[in-house]
């Protein structure tokens, strides 16, 4: 049997230009979409990593603050303290000392800037709180709320909130031991 190329007709021979173009366009479109998606994914991954770093920074600072005593609210420290101008936290002895602490980039207690955190900032707010509602109050109720925020630029990446009460006392820290 003779199968002449003419039997298929010229319009059936090989891949037409139109088909090629359509195929290329489809693949190109998908490729662009994929690259765009990968870029977005990469960006989201970067933001997730930033948030993890920010959470670690917040954890670090709030742990440091929770190691401090409550101090007494009638002392004027809370009302007038503004730690935003401080460069280190070595002399801090109570929660009040941390009120309005701010540093950018984040710093260790001795004031050394943490490397790899350019653009990050940490801030602390200490407020009195009502023990029943935990709402802010201006009077002493024996409760202070500690808020640590970590930002990159103006973007809030992490926020931690904890309470410290006047009743808190680590027995081992106050020199007390247990009678057996």
């Amino acid at each position: 049997m003779i199968a002449s190329p003419h039997h298929a007709g010229p319009h059936h021979a090989g891949i037409t230009l139109i088909e090629t173009i359509i195929s290329v366009l489809i693949v190109a479109g998908l490729f662009v979409a994929a690259v765009s998606t990968l870029g977005a994914a990469r960006s989201a991954e970067s933001r997730t990593a930033e948030r993890l770093h920010a959470q670690a920074l917040a954890e670090d600072l709030i742990s440091e603050i929770l190691a401090q005593p409550y101090d007494h609210p009638t002392a004027p420290a809370l009302a007038v303290a503004d730690a935003s101008g401080d460069t280190d936290r070595l002399g801090y002895q109570s929660l009040n000392d941390y009120h309005r602490w701010f540093s950018s980039p984040p710093r260790t207690p001795d004031g050394t800037p943490l490397t790899g955190y350019d653009g990050f900032s940490r801030e602390v707010e200490i407020t009195r709180a009502d023990p029943t509602t935990l709402a802010s109050t201006t009077t002493d109720t024996g409760v202070k709320r500690i808020t640590v925020r970590v930002r990159r630029g103006d973007l809030l990446l992490a926020e931690r909130v904890a309470l410290r009460t006047a009743a808190w006392a680590e027995p081992q820290l106050s020199g007390e031991s247990w009678r057996e």
């Binding site: 049997m1 003779i2 199968a3 298929a8 059936h12 021979a13 090989g14 891949i15 088909e19 090629t20 195929s23 489809i26 693949v27 998908l30 490729f31 979409a33 994929a34 998606t37 990968l38 977005a40 994914a41 990469r42 989201a44 991954e45 997730t48 948030r51 993890l52 959470q55 709030i62 007494h72 009638t74 002392a75 004027p76 023990p131 029943t132 509602t133 935990l134 024996g142 409760v143 709320r145 992490a158 926020e159 931690r160 909130v161 904890a162 309470l163 009460t165 006047a166 009743a167 808190w168 006392a169 680590e170 027995p171 081992q172 106050s174 020199g175 007390e176 031991s177 247990w178 009678r179």
Partner: protein
């Protein structure tokens, strides 16, 4: 393309003559050549599309998983903070509410951050109202889908051993650590036996007022906190007078505040005790416990001076190394 056309001129070896009739030539193709070409392209395009889509979707899914993990870690940490804060609120309640032991139910949940917290007191065997029993404080914190439970054992502060802030309180080392309130007065150490057989410290009066002993405290008492002060006091001779003792606070401007109580003393040993509550509004730089007599008497004997934070029986204190955190 695997099309094989045997009558194509280029299929014949160079110089060779093809003796076969053109009509006898056969064209062999593995299948329909053109459809196969077109199908292959479609399959290639489809495969590439699926591959690219798969890569994109996988990346998105991976990022979503990472994001959820990060958010779950954040929520868990926040819930843990809330649970620990609940423990602090429970300890505060034992200080401010003497009847806390009458209620073993969960306290009303309170909003904090993006979550909430609550707590309760659980007896460890005996009832909550048993002063000698251990009590478990259970704090619960939640944020988003994370829930954390923290518990710590606590005992009543009254069960803690004495923590006397006064050094050489029983005068077993003579006058070490003690000094006269007015240095010009004369201080004598006497070996007169106390009930327990220990020595005491005698202040002999030489004519002035405010004869007394004082000792600087290494720890500055916290304002607003109540302290118990006690001392064994007697007059050497058969007299009766007022003995005052308490706390003397000195401020940065050298002003002083006396938180003091007065008791009658005579020639028999008496255990005098009271409570003082400093209510200053600025931080003192020095705190001294003092025992004074103002009246003109010959000599006062002092022993077993005690100064310590008040230990209300209802106030709980956490037991070290009993923190437990349950995770879900």
């Amino acid at each position: 393309m695997d099309q094989r056309i045997t009558n194509h001129p280029r299929a014949t070896a160079p110089g060779a003559t093809d003796k076969r009739s053109p009509r006898s030539l056969s064209v062999t193709a593995a299948s329909s050549p053109h459809r196969r070409c077109r199908g292959s392209v479609y399959i290639a395009v489809l495969g590439a599309s699926m591959l690219v889509t798969l890569i994109g979707v996988s990346a998105v899914m991976a990022v979503r998983v990472q994001g959820r993990e990060a958010e779950a870690a954040r929520s868990a940490a926040a819930a843990r903070d809330h649970a620990r804060s609940a423990i602090e609120l429970a300890l505060l309640e034992t200080r401010t509410n003497p009847d806390w032991a009458n209620d073993g139910d969960w306290r009303p949940a309170r909003s904090i951050g993006r979550g909430w917290l609550t707590y309760r007191f659980e007896p460890d065997g005996a009832g909550l109202d048993d002063d000698d029993a251990t009590v478990w404080i259970v704090g619960v914190g939640a944020e988003d889908d994370a829930l954390r439970v923290t518990r710590v054992a606590a005992r009543r502060r009254a069960n803690l051993p004495d923590a006397n802030w006064v050094a050489n309180s029983d005068m077993s080392r003579g006058s070490l650590g003690w000094e006269l309130f007015y240095p010009d007065d004369e201080l004598e150490y006497t070996t007169q036996s106390q009930t327990a057989g220990q020595g005491s410290l005698m202040m002999r009066h030489l004519g002035g007022n405010f004869v007394g002993l004082t000792q600087d405290l290494e720890t500055i008492p916290a304002a607003g906190e109540t302290f118990d002060v006690a001392a064994d006091v007697r007059l050497r001779d058969s007299e009766t007078t007022l003995v005052r003792f308490g706390l003397l606070l000195t401020y940065p401007d050298n002003s002083q505040q006396l938180v003091i109580a007065a008791f009658n003393a005579d020639d028999s040993w008496r255990r005098l005790q009271t409570a003082v509550t400093p209510l200053y509004t600025t931080d003192p730089i020095r705190a001294s416990v003092i025992v004074l007599v103002i009246d003109d008497i010959s000599a006062v004997l002092v022993d077993n001076v005690h100064f310590q934070p008040r230990r209300d029986r209802h106030q709980l204190v956490p037991v070290p190394a009993t923190w437990r955190q349950d995770t879900f």
